[in-house]
Symmetry: C2
Subunit: 463 residues, 2 copies
């Protein structure tokens, strides 16, 4: 392909300005208070797709936030790439840990991003990575090098479970028909160690509520005589892991895929420094399931983590109260073959069964999704690998990710096509955390790499 | 004494109106946002003491909220009663569980209060019970029946640990010199089962903080590979009780007073219905230390309860985050002979020692106080018992309370005098809870009973 670096160099500042404008809209899907902003972000994405050269762009209403669909069909005989991304973002709290306001993007140099990184909620996850595809398409269209058909599907509920996208996909199989799905919502190992995500973990997210007495009580008059919902909740949660940090929910591991010694040895080759890992997080030691390495614990092994807990008096000063209720949000990361709905049921049954008399327990399933694996012997993977090799100068490493994009396995099931996870972010970009950022170099590198995927994928389909 | 019922009948409405006016001021000492209101409440108490007939009333500034001191010395040869109470109240949250706004008092009938009860934060604890003493003094002065000297000491920091009162008492021993201390900040068994509190539990209140990674992390990328501060906190708290609900902090029970079989048998005589207790709290079963009855668990045995816990994402929807920090407020109720500072130290040492590698733990002592026991063979107890017998028509039962008034043991230590805990509230009055209330009958019964204590105590001192 020609003129790609020139085009990027020429339009670099505009590419950045457009992304920054998008990042200024606080599209927090989890918080109803921001619904107007989420809707405005959908409109902004629609406009961006039109400007980039889509012939048709539609905003599809759903029971929740709308899905923006765009397409450019140049020849029905040519293959079709379906790009998926999301325009919603995670809540930014805790706000006090941000060095600059989450929705007032600033560009600053970091150790890993000497050319600067854009700091803002959504910079990497996923506005920045989604927008790379919009700009890559603009580039291919304006330089008359678009080799195949393109479809875009950008949703606004990824951070809250993509429930309505699932319905939309099931109802629009024909419209969404494609040969390969392309997603940039994952990361790579390092700027000089390109990698492609070949596996994702599934997810089961639940909320639990423990109720004791029918009202808050004075801890002096009732302390020691009634079940304290907070103490009980801590006992129940603590019992979910044994001393080796295995999860104790009966049946939890029954379908877990056990990797061969060879596969684990292969994985272990990925560059990793435990010292650097601990230093980056400022922890004295790692912690996890006995018998597995850190990289295995957060990729090929399932987990159970409390994402939030609350109950009783959490304000200033002291209050000697026994709360009537205590709550926790708990998520389980699942590996291929574990069915998230089955795991959710196993958890619910177990958690309710371990509640002592004197409290009542309610488990409310939140959302979830299946794990996913991309075979590396497919045309899609080979085209992506070659694209990375072209722009990075080295072959990317296939890598299992610990994260989840629940919708991916559903795409395969509903649309019958595989997904390529071309991520350009770094684990250190602090997605879902304060000071989320995305390297300017990574953003532009993505825009540069994506067109080659289109080219190689189209060529490989012919041959 | 004469005309007591007449005087009360004649001024009943005014007594209620004055208390209601006091209850309207949100004197929440734990929350700095209400400091103006707390200060205004002190002024209101000063005015009330002057109106009631004190010859001298002063507002003593402290490092925190002021102490209102009042006195009426009729004859230095006569005994002196020091009345202690507090004008600050607990935070009212959770607000949504109140049937009427906590600082807009309303009078409503209840099953236990057929003549109506005043619903408001502080109605019983302690504005209502403190104000009984102010009105009882007014009654004795206006009917020319005050038999001895009176001193009032009303503070505004009881709900946050009384730290400044301790200093004030130590510095004003002469001014506060007295023969007996009278406090109404406890309850009685029932309106037809009068009781006097002869024991109080001590208290140690701490806040704990568990820190893992230096920032919030994406639970997919890091889940299972690093210590999750919330999971760790639940494990640490859960480990503080064994399967018999004994507290596991080494040394915790070393000084606990073990009651004789006889004493326990005596205690067991107090009327108590487990079924009614469970029904009132809407719980299927009680829960507590093995080998002890419900009444023993919340009076003669020490306890450890989590009063509040928080960490991670607690907002709407779901956030797949591993929090950097998790927190809990923990209080321990102590029994006589347990030293609260020693227990606090034992807890701190133990809790820090059980933290696994990968997290750091900080324990911050909040406040505390010693337990207390009033011997029933003292003049003070006998005078109180006879006063109850006069107005209730039956001898009150001596009862150990599970609550704490840390300052009581300090009074004995600094002022060398015993304290009589004449409480007129009921356990069901929901102090520290939503819908706190105080029976109108109980309020007036207190005003009627208190003067007899003054009379009998003065007589018994002579003879």
């Amino acid at each position: 392909m020609q003129n790609i670096p020139d085009y990027i160099a020429q339009h670099k500042q505009r590419f950045l300005n457009e992304l920054i404008a998008l990042l200024k809209i606080p599209s927090i899907s989890a918080d109803p208070a921001f619904s107007k902003d989420v809707l405005n972000t959908a409109k902004a994405v629609k406009t961006a797709l039109e400007t980039a050269g889509c012939d048709l762009v539609e905003i599809h209403e759903t029971a929740g936030y709308p899905i923006v669909y765009g397409e450019k069909i140049i020849n029905t005989k040519l293959p079709t790439v379906l790009v998926y991304g999301h325009y919603d973002v995670q809540p930014p709290d805790p706000l006090d840990l941000w060095n600059s306001p989450p929705f007032e993007p600033v560009i600053q140099k970091t150790e890993l991003h000497p050319e600067g990184a854009i700091f803002a909620r959504g910079a990497c996850d996923d506005k920045g990575q989604m927008y790379m595809h919009v700009k890559a398409m603009e580039l291919m269209v304006n330089t008359h090098q678009l080799p195949c058909n393109v479809k875009f599907m950008v949703e606004g509920e990824e951070e809250v479970g993509s429930n309505n996208l699932a319905i939309y996909v099931a109802e629009n199989k024909e419209k969404l028909a494609n040969d390969i799905i392309l997603i940039s919502d994952t990361g790579m190992i390092a700027n000089d160690v390109p990698s492609i995500t070949t596996g994702l973990r599934g997810l089961s997210y639940v909320e639990v509520e423990v109720t004791g007495p029918n009202r808050d009580l004075h801890s002096g008059l009732y302390g020691g005589a009634v079940a304290n919902p907070i103490n009980i909740l801590t006992k129940m949660i603590a019992s979910l892991h044994d001393e080796d940090n295995h999860i104790t929910v009966p049946g939890f591991y029954d379908k877990v895929e056990e990797l061969s010694t060879e596969e684990r040895a292969e994985m272990a080759k990925a560059p990793f420094s435990l010292a650097a890992y601990q230093k980056a997080l400022d922890i004295e030691a790692v912690y996890g399931e006995k018998g597995y390495s850190t990289n295995e614990r957060n990729s090929i092994r399932p987990t159970l983590d409390v994402n939030g807990i609350w109950g009783g008096y959490t304000g200033e000063g002291a209050k000697t109260v026994i709360a009537s209720k205590a709550y926790a949000k708990i998520s389980m990361r699942l590996v291929p073959n574990q069915d998230w709905e089955e795991i959710t049921e196993l958890f619910k049954t177990h958690f309710e069964s371990i509640a002592p008399k004197g409290v009542t327990v309610r488990v409310t399933p939140h959302h979830g999704g299946q794990g996913y694996v991309t075979p590396i012997d497919t045309i899609g993977y080979k085209a992506a690998s070659k694209a990375f090799e072209t722009t990075f100068g080295k072959k990317p490493i296939p890598q299992r990710s610990g994260g989840s994009i629940p919708i991916v396995s559903l795409f395969e099931q509903e649309l019958g096509s595989k997904t390529i996870l071309m991520g350009f972010g770094l684990d250190s970009d602090a997605i879902h955390s304060p000071n989320e950022h995305f390297g300017v170099w990574n953003y532009l590198k993505g825009i540069e790499t994506i067109p080659y995927f289109y080219q190689y994928f189209t060529e490989m389909n012919k041959g």
